[in-house]
């Protein structure tokens, strides 16, 4: 288990290294962006990406990433990866999980399992895969599969810094799981020049957080009592207006 963890960490580090090495070679620019929600609060877990307009999508890169299930939560909440990344789903809890996604970006199912499934899941299409656990309704995770190599996730203070971006014109876009609103607001043109970092401010309108709330730590013990007779509800409901 720990071995897998260490291995996952190394793989992630390696992937990042591989991403940055070629960008660092040429004279490059950078972008600093601040994302706030419509209440003015700094917004974390926002994926900010730069796409050269009209450019063909970048070729898939066979990197790897890890989406942990820890304490019945997907960690991280949002995982941003380039197209073609293999993502491992190590289960760090002592109960099973049943991870699935019905998203068009990647449809897959990892039926009840413990530990790390032998084969990681390869995300070969750009888009967003919404992850769920069939037995824990509140477990929600997102894998943002990017078709551009220039992307990053905002930190807790809502800032993000994209470095080693070749100078040129780009379309900057943001994505957040609860984002709503027109693309005009989530997309902004920007020209990256060498030297001074480009500055962008985004305000993202959010849908209310409708995720089912996670139960208290004693959830499993309590559930044993309250689940009795669940099927009896149905007979009771018969002829109920």
């Amino acid at each position: 288990m720990r071995r897998w963890l260490a291995l996952g960490g190394c793989a992630a580090g390696l992937a990042l290294l591989l991403l940055r090495v070629p960008l660092a070679v040429s004279a490059s620019g950078s972008l600093e962006a601040v994302v706030r929600d419509d209440a003015g609060q700094p917004l974390t877990d926002v994926v900010v990406s730069l796409t050269p307009p009209g450019a063909a999508p970048a070729a898939p890169r066979a990197g790897s990433a890890v989406m942990d299930q820890q304490n019945k939560t997907f960690v991280p909440f949002v995982l941003a990866v380039p197209v073609g990344t293999s993502v491992a789903f190590p289960n760090r809890d002592n109960i099973r999980h049943h991870v699935y996604s019905f998203s068009p970006a990647k449809r897959f199912e990892l039926p009840l399992y413990i530990g790390t499934p032998a084969a990681p899941v390869v995300f070969d299409k750009p888009g967003v895969a919404v992850l769920g656990c069939n037995i824990h309704d509140w477990m929600v995770g997102y894998i943002y599969v990017s078709d551009t190599p220039y992307f990053a996730k905002t930190a807790d203070n809502g800032t993000v810094r994209l470095t080693d971006v070749p100078p040129g014109a780009y379309e900057a876009r943001v994505w957040h799981p609860r984002m709503r609103g027109e693309p005009a607001k989530t997309t902004k043109p920007i020209t990256i020049a060498p030297g001074d970092p480009g500055q962008l401010d985004f305000v993202v309108a959010l849908r209310p957080d409708r995720r089912p709330t996670a139960p208290s730590p004693h959830y499993d013990q309590r559930q044993q009592g309250s689940q009795r007779g669940g099927s009896r509800i149905a007979s009771k409901l018969r002829r109920t207006p």
Binding site: F102, G132, R211, I233, A234, L237, R239, P241
Partner: protein
């Protein structure tokens, strides 16, 4: 007649008052009972509607929970996510059976029906309750009663989460006549489920007969929670409680049925009131009779008194005001009786006093008047008059004559009473008095003579006075003793007590013969009085009406040792 109407009036007043009280009481109680009955029915309906609403809410929550349970099914999610419509419909039908629901319906996120167990062949039609999807989307509990194909369903909508919403799942149970019948069994009320769309009211499910359903749909009050309604079973009290956006449950109870116990109560009250009035009538009649009977008795008594019967006494055995009145009445009659008696006595005494001394008159009036009846008895008769009076009366002024007579009578009158003589008559200057009748006395002759002497003594000073005035007047008297017939003579209104007999004649003749100052007595009288009177024979006199000469004596005076009564006048 008068009192009978008084009694009727009494009864009428009693009865009227009592009836008024009873009627007022009945009206007040009836109004109160009726109001409280209505209030109670309203409360009953309100309570039932509250309970229904609570129950429906609970069931709604249960439905939502069950639907949510269904929505968690992974196979369903898989089928939906893979857009496998045939499988989705099949899973839905399967799950419908699992929870024994009447409808399961799945809609895409944009509100188009994907699968519907009720109408399996229809696709892409709009979801029948888009509002529910909006509510579910807003994270609220989405449940409502909606009409689908003309039937009412309680429908709950939950998102199908994978783990974000990928579709909307609706589950519903039909509300039909059976549902209404179940509720009626619980509450005993008529139950109807009514939908209102714009101005159209549709009764979807009900315990009512078809005709009444139409009437309910036509007459359902708008915008109110309670009301009344005229249906086949009479007037109904209504309670309207919303159970969905456009659907309400109407609870109703026939007013007549609800008021039946109160009507029975009012009937009993009415019977009690009527019985009370009848009792009051009886009581009033008894009281009136009790009050009027003594009054009637008093009236009879008063009539008897008016007719002159002063012996009347009314007997009323009561100690109240009427008893007191009767006692007072009796006292009054007693007073009248006493006054009558006194008046009679006074009248008789007045009559007697014409003839007798006051003492004798009193005695007579106290006793009976049989003393005055005709009888024969030996009496002593005194005649006296004034000599020369006729000549004087002719010569003198009438005023002088009357003055003389007044003085004369004032002098001799009292003596008649003093010696208890019976004054038979006055004739101008003449006077006739007799003794031993009507009350016998032991010494009539003695009394007669003593009186005559007293008169002579009393008149003497008067005569001196008149003689000095030049009138020749004298006093003479005659006394005789003998049997006479005595009694009342005369006619009604004017009776005299008279003595008829020789003795009267004799004494009158003796008086005629007497000269001034002489008191002539018969021999028989002389024999009676010689013990105390000094007499002098005057000689036998020939008197008119008497065949033989009559021995006559003159009374010179009364000797010493006289009777105490005559002592002052015995010595001239």
């Amino acid at each position: 007649m008068h009192f009978r109407s008084f009694r009727s009036r009494l009864v009428a007043v009693f009865l009227g008052l009592f009836t008024l009280i009873q009627a007022t009481g009945y009206v007040v109680v009836a109004a109160f009972v009726r109001a409280s009955a209505h209030q109670q029915v309203e409360d009953e309906l309100r309570l039932a509607s509250t309970l229904f609403a609570r129950q429906l809410d609970d069931r709604s929550r249960q439905l939502v929970a069950a639907t949510r349970l269904l929505s968690g099914d992974f196979a369903l999610k898989t089928a939906v996510a893979t857009a496998d419509h045939a499988t989705t419909a099949s899973v839905l039908e399967n799950h419908r059976r699992r929870v024994d629901a009447d409808i399961l319906i799945l809609a895409s996120l944009d509100g188009a029906v994907v699968a519907d167990t009720l109408r399996p062949t229809q696709h892409a039609t709009p979801f029948p309750a888009p509002r529910l999807i909006e509510q579910a989307e807003a994270g609220r509990e989405a449940s409502d009663v909606v009409a689908i194909d003309g039937r009412l369903y309680r429908l709950a909508v939950v998102p199908l989460l994978a783990p974000e919403p990928i579709a909307w799942l609706g589950a519903g149970f039909v509300i039909d006549d059976r549902t209404a019948a179940d509720l009626r069994r619980l509450s005993g009320l008529q139950v109807s489920f009514v939908a209102r769309d714009a101005d159209r009211v549709t009764v979807h499910a009900s315990t009512l007969a078809p005709a009444d359903r139409d009437a309910l749909a036509r007459q359902l009050p708008v915008g109110r929670k309670a009301g009344r309604l005229e249906l086949g079973g009479g007037e109904q009290m209504l309670r309207i409680e919303p159970v969905g956006q456009n659907v309400m449950v109407v609870l109703q109870r026939p007013l007549a049925e609800a008021l039946a116990p109160y009507d029975r109560l009012l009937l009993i009250l009415l019977a009690v009131a009527v019985a009370g009035v009848l009792l009051a009538l009886l009581g009033a009649a008894l009281v009136a009779r009790r009050v009027s009977r003594p009054v009637l008795t008093l009236a009879r008594g008063a009539r008897r008194v008016a007719a002159g019967d002063f012996t009347t006494a009314v007997a009323i055995g009561q100690r109240d005001e009427l008893g007191e009145l009767a006692a007072t009445f009796n006292e009054m009659v007693g007073g009248l009786r006493e006054r009558e008696r006194v008046r009679d006595e006074l009248e008789r005494t007045t009559r007697l006093k014409r003839f007798f001394s006051p003492q004798l008159a009193d005695a007579l009036s106290a006793g009976d008047e049989s003393l005055l009846a005709s009888h024969r008895r030996e009496i002593t008769v005194v005649f006296c008059d004034l000599r020369g009076f006729t000549a004087f009366a002719e010569a003198a002024d009438p005023e002088e004559v009357m003055q003389l007579l007044r003085a004369y009578h004032a002098a001799v009158g009292p003596l008649v009473f003093q010696y208890e003589g019976t004054l038979e008559r006055f004739t101008g200057d003449g006077l006739m008095v007799f003794f031993n009748d009507p009350v016998p006395c032991p010494d009539p002759a003695a009394r007669a003579v003593r009186m005559a002497v007293a008169m002579r003594d009393a008149v003497a000073p008067l005569l001196d006075t008149w003689r000095r005035r030049g009138h020749t007047l004298g006093f003479g008297a005659g006394v005789a003793m003998g049997y006479a017939t005595i009694g009342r003579i005369g006619f009604e209104g004017r009776f005299d007590y008279a003595a008829i007999g020789t003795v009267t004649n004799l004494s009158a003749r003796l008086c005629q013969e007497a000269r001034d100052g002489q008191i002539l007595v018969s021999q028989q009288v002389q024999a009676e009085i010689e013990l105390f009177a000094e007499t002098k024979p005057v000689g036998p006199l020939v008197l008119r009406g008497f065949a033989k000469p009559v021995p006559v004596f003159d009374i010179l005076g009364i000797r010493a040792a006289p009777t105490p009564r005559a002592v002052s006048r015995a010595t001239p």
